[in-house]
Assembly symmetry: C2
Homo-oligomer: 531 residues x 2
């Protein structure tokens, strides 16, 4: 290609800006010229080996400053589109893939057809574990409103106090707090947290045993990856938290669902003969049923874990919200043999978007987990950790917990009233004492998934209990109703709306199967026996 | 045990507070009484089946209010230490593990000895993959100061502007921004980011293709877990980023180190015959050597990935800091066949502790990655994302990048001057154009690890280049020196201090092996040939 032809081509293609000469020579034009030449090279209209016009010549021909051309050429040079040879000029590079090299390597190139399967369907396939994860997704695509389970009322979070503390720290931030964190996070926060956990949860720990995480998910993931190899076994409560199952399964851990009775996770004799690597449990408030693990069961698990070298992972996700008496002591506090790993989160007590949680580890594990956290996740957020340390230390955390505990108790009461009003006093629901949600049980055979989907069309979240079970034989029907994030005045009307969805489903069930009347007696008598 | 004996026991054990009667009946006493009875039950001094004294009686005997006793009893009841039988009283529960049940299950209990290996050494063992991760840890335990690589100067971050935007958003936060995120994060941020990436990095994407992450690590992890199964292969640049290797290996992916030549990652013919699932690369600025991938190599890789259905993962970690010309266009922008996954981070452009990054995915993958992110990590931080969206939109991001680019160019210049002054103009160092660190090469055989450790005792970070190689045969010696976070005035003196450590090591090498004189010629001629 003659140099002048290139100039003409460029002239044709160049958008002529309506602006002034200044525009034409500004960065806009540098960029435009570079883009244009680059596109022509990629499209093949300026072929490899072509010499680009001398910069001065091109500048004159297309009416831009020489600097503009030089800038574009330098950029093309830097990116390998052109090469410069001193004294000879600037040439378009040979940048098409070297077909002969690929050929030698046995690759099929260009005209050789590629098998269809490679071309299309497989091109965007997830891996087996990825597909399993995505197709068993449990996370809700809604995170707010009636009756979203597990979401606190973030509108009552004392944001002015938080903003004041944020301001204080951002006024003159220490550089060390803006860079990566290491060794498990901000030590002053771990200190106040150790104190809080000792008082509020009877957790026994030194600050060095605490690792700050982004929440329960990161903690589970870290446990699975540092303490388990693929094929290791974990017992998990059935029903239980979908996130635990997803994370463990994705990490190659073999999840064994273990039924829950009225004392908590209940492995039978056969199960006990085959000790797992982990026992995942929610002793303070079984998720999602709300049962409290009995002391007998706690001690049995601790003894069993000690003997068999298993790890008990205590997920203490919402234990701060116990409405009567003080919060139940943690399982960790009963452990004399370092077999419990304790996980907590600020998602329920402050706000989920904060993404802050923690784990309390046996002393010999803590340094390994600090290292593992840095390797896998490169932690940070020290500013946020410093703000939270102040928030706890100045007493705002305790005050907020107290306030929310009252609010949630009141909201739970209102929801129970609404249920009783519509379905009768004896309609079976889960325990009263604690938490951010309750379970409304439904008669066996009720289509809780269908009800949930119908509720969704009414703008209501009501997650189906049956979906929390791994074992379909064991699955019971019901709805998880979160009351924590629903304002008092909305609870009655929202439940009324939900009942309009539930009732037709129950009537249909009564016509076709057993009447719901039998159901109350059944659930009340056998409810937690796992029968 | 007689009820009065229990009262006596409790009286003996009760700390008698020096305070007033009010103290004795306050929460302090509630708690103390509860703890005391609990401990006695656990220790076995109050045996199972014992009846606790009537609350009124105990209150009188130990001199506390009846409410104090009732509170303690209720808590013990709630936690299962005691049971209440209406009209009969309160009894200590049988809570020791049911030995017979465990026996039936074949477990060894109590007096039966447990094999030593179970009792001790194995009790805190990490898994194989956990041990591998921790014992090959690459994360530094320092994150600030001369010559920490990969850390920007966070003290120059416009914190007042950031604080103002934080304030604006926290003044009246929308509840939806305080709860969990989903679908890949805050859409307005993804919109401004798509625009920024298009202009600054020639990335072609719609906002829907962007998933907000907590950084490069989370992105790599997500890729490995959604797109690979254990045993799948990934090519990785050798030398390369330790984090990529750690994450992939921990996720069961088989990492294959591929040498880097002066055009970038350079698979040979044999390697090309065995296509991997992933090709991880740093095209804009090879980490850690600083080379720019040639256009020829880029097009070869894209063509190869298209044919073989491989994924190219482009890690564009610090490409914004290119000191001459505009930043190099991304590999993603050249891709016509959706084979590139692009990863970026704000760790280098804003501050690492922010923990914010992003990935740009081919359209068919984006929804799966959004779901996978929610399942594995439950994302949040929408407030922070909203602040960042404003920060970019109001032009502060572009301004900050411009300012930092100048500063880092200046600092790199000062470090080069210091090196030249001490070791001569021709001493081999890595490329000049970009980034937050440079590599000072050392003669073959130099103990860069030893130098690094000695530097550490002087309070200096200087990471050894040889440790970035997987293949020891290929490893070259040198030091990674980060200049970005070192104030201008400190660079010369800090390098002087470092040179005091380097020189004796080189003199020792010269006496025992080959003289460093040969080295300059060697590195300059063969430096990037991978020879």
């Amino acid at each position: 290609m003659k140099e002048t032809i290139l100039s003409e081509l460029l002239l044709q293609r160049l958008e002529r800006p309506a602006g002034t000469q200044a525009d034409r020579n500004g960065t806009h034009m540098n960029r435009q010229l570079y883009e244009l030449i680059r596109q022509e090279i990629l499209a093949g209209s300026i072929s490899a080996g072509s010499k680009l016009p001398a910069s001065r010549l091109l500048a004159t021909e297309i009416g831009v400053s020489r600097n503009t051309v030089l800038y574009a050429y330098e950029q093309l040079l830097a990116e390998g589109y052109v090469t410069a040879s001193t004294g000879r000029g600037t040439f378009v590079s040979q940048t098409f893939p070297d077909h002969s090299a690929l050929h030698k390597a046995g690759a099929r190139i260009g005209t050789t057809p590629v098998p269809a399967v490679q071309q299309n369907s497989n091109r965007f396939d997830l891996s087996r574990r990825g597909m399993h994860l995505v197709s068993n997704a449990g996370a809700s695509d809604r995170q707010w409103g009636a009756f979203m389970a597990g979401v606190p009322d973030v509108s009552l979070f004392p944001h002015a106090t938080w903003a004041r503390l944020l301001n204080k720290h951002w006024r003159n931030p220490r550089p060390q707090l803006l860079t990566y964190a290491h060794h498990g996070g901000y030590m002053p926060l771990r200190r106040v947290l150790a104190e809080h956990l000792r008082l509020a949860r009877a957790v026994r720990c030194e600050p060095e045993q605490i690792i700050l995480t982004t929440g329960i998910h990161q903690a589970i993931d870290l446990i699975a990856r540092l303490l388990a190899d693929p094929g290791d076994k974990a017992w998990m409560e059935d029903p239980g938290y979908w996130g635990t199952r997803s994370l463990l399964t994705n990490a190659g851990v073999d999840v064994i669902p273990v039924p829950v009775d009225n004392e908590g996770i209940a492995p039978d004799a056969a199960r006990l003969q085959d000790p797992p690597r982990f026992i995942f449990a929610t002793p303070s408030h079984q998720y999602p049923l709300g049962t409290v693990m009995s002391l007998t069961r706690r001690r049995m698990l601790l003894e069993y874990a000690r003997q068999r070298g298993a790890w008990i992972v205590e997920d203490d996700y919402d234990s701060e919200f116990r409405f009567e008496g003080r919060p139940l002591a943690s399982l960790q506090g009963l452990d004399e043999h370092d077999r419990v790993i304790y996980m907590g989160t600020f998602s329920k007590t402050l706000f989920p978007g904060l993404r802050m949680g923690f784990m309390v580890l046996p002393k010999p594990l803590a340094p390994h987990f600090a290292t593992g956290l840095s390797e896998l996740f490169r932690e940070g957020q020290l500013m946020q950790q410093a703000v939270l340390a102040d928030f706890i230390e100045e007493g705002h955390y305790a005050t907020h917990l107290r306030r929310m505990r009252q609010r949630y108790a009141q909201r739970q009461g209102l929801l129970r009233e609404a249920i009783a009003k519509r379905f009768g006093q004896d309609w079976p629901t889960s325990t009263h004492e604690a938490g951010l949600h309750l379970v409304v049980h439904l008669p066996p055979g009720a289509d809780d998934l269908g009800i949930s989907m119908a509720a969704r069309t009414q703008g209501l979240s009501a997650r189906p209990l049956s979906r929390y079970y791994s074992d379909e034989q064991r699955a019971r029907q019901g709805l998880l109703l979160g009351y924590a994030c629903v304002p008092e005045d909305d609870i009655g009307p929202a439940f009324h709306k939900l009942a309009e969805v539930i009732e037709p489903a129950l009537e249909h069930l009564a016509r076709t199967r057993q009447p719901p009347r039998e159901f109350s007696a059944r659930i009340n008598n056998e409810a937690w026996s796992g029968a």
